[in-house]
């Protein structure tokens, strides 16, 4: 896994520094086998199998509490599974964590950043943690802050950023070591439409150059538009997976999702809430 040729030309939206190394192997970018996680009595993830092909733009959707974040945490080495394995390009996350994590760029949801650092310091810190050389860290940090429109705010502590800016700086941190797989948990939450479009361009360029992206989202429209593959998870189980067209058939993804997951009400709400 160490000798990866870096000869793929970079796509326009992505600066050369953060272009992922192209993959030459046929192993899937991510392979989850029989993942299980229990929290006390509650089974959060119940034997989940999922294969994410290299180069795909993979959407992970499911209702609240479906186990998306738990699954992604286990797949990226943040939460130890009770059973099953997670492999990233063939590297087992839980037996070779250091090697596996070098391949992953992770934007976790519901965790804080070291928000007393400035945006520039935070990205630099992350680059240094991956052992990049000082010059490389400086170039990549400058590139990333520029494409995330954070140049103005580079010297501001992250604690004073808006929610959307915080997402963007976290994404910059996830990209700085040029990972082969990006795992993004709710990347578009509270990001303004312009920034979202910019981020989308970056991600498209990244997959076009051979990188793999997994996004979890609540927005079916977004997944249908952006992703080429999708998996539907509910109650810790995989309900459907495949290319977006395979999963949705003739319906919209939204309708297909509701059909799979259930729980849609057709009521007008309680009487007392009606205003006239």
């Amino acid at each position: 896994m160490t000798d990866i040729p870096r000869d793929v030309p970079p796509p326009s939206a992505l600066p050369e520094a953060v272009t992922p190394p192209a993959s030459t192997d046929s192993l899937p970018a991510m392979q989850l086998t029989g993942l299980v996680k229990r929290f006390g009595e509650k089974v959060a993830v119940a034997g989940l199998d999922l294969t994410v092909p290299t180069g795909s733009f993979y959407g992970l959707v499911g209702p609240n509490g479906a186990g998306k974040t738990t699954t992604l945490s286990m797949a990226t080495g943040l939460l130890r599974p009770d059973g099953g394995t997670a492999r990233i390009h063939g590297v087992d996350v839980w037996t070779q964590p250091v090697e596996a994590k070098k391949l992953i760029g992770n934007l976790a949801d519901g965790v804080r950043l070291f928000d007393r650092l400035t945006g520039e310091q935070l990205v630099t810190y992350t680059g240094m943690m991956f052992g990049l050389s000082r010059d490389e860290v400086a170039t990549r940090t400058a590139d990333l802050l520029r494409i995330m429109d954070l140049g103005e705010a580079a010297g501001t502590p992250v604690v004073d950023y808006s929610a959307g800016m915080t997402k963007k700086v976290a994404l910059a941190c996830a990209l700085v070591h040029a990972p082969r797989l990006l795992v993004l948990d709710e990347p578009f939450e509270s990001v303004d439409p312009v920034s979202a479009a910019n981020i989308e361009d970056i991600l498209r360029g990244y997959t076009a150059s051979g990188g793999t992206v997994i996004v979890s989202s609540h927005s079916m429209d977004l997944v249908q538009r952006m992703c080429d593959h999708v998996a539907v998870i509910a109650q810790g189980r995989l309900l459907a997976s495949g290319t977006v067209d395979e999963v949705r058939g003739t319906q919209t993804l939204q309708d297909r999702f509701v059909e799979l997951v259930g729980g849609r009400h057709h009521a007008e709400g309680p009487q007392w809430l009606r205003q006239s």
Partner: protein, 528 residues
């Protein structure tokens, strides 16, 4: 509305206790402690009541003043103020600020400390029972005194949290207030010590209490006694002082509360110029360097870390007070050792302060050894220079320069050993901490009794491991032996470095195996 809020408060307490057995144990210990204090107070007051009226007046006033001060200072040291009824949480409900304040005050009165204070204050009737005028006055003044306690503690906390506009200003004021309060209590101990020794020398304790009785903290408690002795005018004046105190505290609290509810946590405009990397530009571009730089940035910029550093000047002051101001004695000269002890154990649960940002550390796949080393170097870079400064200053004041090798050796040894123990303990243990920028007065829920036990275990371990260097250092201090001093220096540096290195290696192994469990636990803490 207030009744509803109180019901919620007890519901929350009940749920917390039924969720965790260890928290129940801690709660029971708290209740037992309060009962014990109450018993002591009642017995004491009963006997005081049999004595001379003047002594009884002085005792009740002094005890009341200590109690009031305790309500203001206590939260800083112990667990912080109960935030079950936090103004920010009550804000969405249709309540006026006044209703909110009544609810919070009632919540404070009905907590364990509030009930204990009320019962203790009622025990003053054991004294006033024999003076009908005083007893009647106490019916008004005892509730007044208790109310001042509760309102003062809430008002001071709200003020400390709410003054100033920007985040930075607020944090600096919080830190300064915190420092003042920390040093207020040793000063208070010092004054008490002074009083005790003065009264042994024949100075009337009662005249000091007379002075306190005119201050806002003592006035309410002094009124019944004044009336009992027939000093109607002074009794009335003190009553007015007490009422004015309560009114002033209430107004100050109301102001800061309405300000904080409407305009919480303003954004600061402070920024650095881009390209200014701070410590990140200085340290080598490796995982250890990155962790070191981040840790050092926290120790110098994050107020939660800065608050811990206050322990370093605090230790010699504490020693001075307990040795009753004896600057020339051996205890003050050796106080650098206490500083070393505190300084090493500071990062005993360093990962806790990361909060869920610890996920960022884990995502990089850093090896445990590198993480441990970076964190401990960060802590040492701040604490060892401060420690050496404290050593030199205390020795200069004591005029015992010949002890320099002994004290430096012993204290640096203690710090290195403390860091070694911390390197292991912080890979095993996380405790709930305030979020960055929180008020120092805020209590962080989720601490359990076992966490306190773990903390004391760390202290104990450091104390035992440090014996080879502390013993020669103490021999040097007490006998003046020069060779013991040099022995302390050699052993301190060598043995300290060995324990430090072992701590990093063992802690690194534990970290590699246990980091996901630490993150999982950090996620369970509220506000992390």
């Amino acid at each position: 509305m207030v009744a509803t809020v109180l019901k919620i408060r007890f519901r929350v307490l009940g749920n917390t206790l039924s969720r965790s057995a260890m928290q129940l144990v801690g709660f029971i210990f708290g209740v037992l402690g309060a009962l014990w204090m109450l018993l002591l107070i009642s017995v004491g007051l009963f006997f005081v009541g049999m004595l001379d009226l003047d002594i009884a007046r002085a005792a009740v006033t002094a005890a009341g003043a200590v109690l009031t001060l305790g309500w203001v200072i206590g939260p800083v040291f112990a667990a912080g103020i109960d935030t079950t009824l936090d103004p920010a949480k009550l804000a969405p409900f249709p309540m006026t600020t006044r209703q909110m304040m009544v609810a919070i005050t009632a919540g404070g009165l009905t907590g364990v400390p509030g009930i204990a204070t009320a019962l203790g204050a009622l025990a003053t009737f054991l004294v006033w029972g024999r003076y009908p005028v005083a007893a009647v006055a106490a019916i008004v003044c005892v509730p007044l005194g208790v109310l001042i306690c509760v309102v003062a503690s809430r008002a001071v906390a709200a003020l400390a949290a709410g003054i100033g506009g920007g985040r930075r200003t607020r944090e600096i004021i919080g830190l300064v207030g915190f420092a003042l309060l920390i040093f207020a209590s040793p000063l208070f101990i010092g004054i008490t010590n002074g009083l005790v020794s003065a009264s042994e020398q024949g100075v009337q304790l009662t005249s000091v209490a007379e002075g306190i009785s005119w201050t806002p903290i003592g006035a309410a408690w002094a009124v019944p006694g004044d009336l009992a002795s027939g000093s109607w005018v002074s009794g009335l004046l003190k009553f007015l002082i007490a009422v004015a105190t309560l009114a002033l505290l209430w107004v100050l609290w109301q102001r800061s509360l309405s300000a904080s509810v409407v305009a919480p946590a303003a954004r600061s405009t402070a920024r650095r110029r881009s390209g200014s990397l701070g410590w990140f530009g200085v340290m080598p571009s490796t995982p250890v360097g990155a962790t070191w730089a981040r840790s050092l940035t926290s120790w110098t910029r994050d107020f939660r870390y800065l608050r811990q550093l206050l322990l370093i000047p605090f230790a010699p002051v504490l020693v001075l007070l307990y040795s009753r101001g004896d600057i020339d004695g051996p205890f003050f000269a050796a106080s650098g050792l206490l500083v070393g002890f505190f300084a090493g154990i500071l990062p005993y649960s360093d990962v806790s302060y990361d909060g869920t940002a610890f996920a960022t550390v884990m995502q990089t796949g850093i090896r445990g050894r590198a993480d441990r080393l970076g964190r401990m170097l960060g802590s040492a870079t701040v604490s060892i220079p401060l420690l050496l400064l404290a050593d030199v200053v205390t020795l200069a004041i004591a005029g015992r320069w010949e002890l320099l090798p002994a004290i430096v050796g012993g204290s640096v040894g203690l710090t290195l050993i403390g860091l070694g123990v911390s390197a292991v303990s912080s890979a095993l243990l996380v405790v709930p901490t305030p979020a960055p920028g929180d008020s120092p007065f805020k209590r962080v829920p989720g601490s359990t009794f076992s966490m306190f036990l773990a903390f004391f275990l760390c202290w104990f371990l450091v104390a035992v491991l440090a014996l080879p260097t502390v013993i020669p250092a103490l021999i040097a201090v007490f006998t003046g032996s020069t060779s013991a001093g040099w022995l302390a220096l050699t052993v301190g540096l060598v043995w300290g470095a060995v324990v430090f290195a072992l701590g990093v290696l063992i802690g690194g192994k534990r970290f590699d195996a246990g980091a996901p469990a630490l993150l999982a636990q950090l996620r369970t803490f509220r506000g992390a």
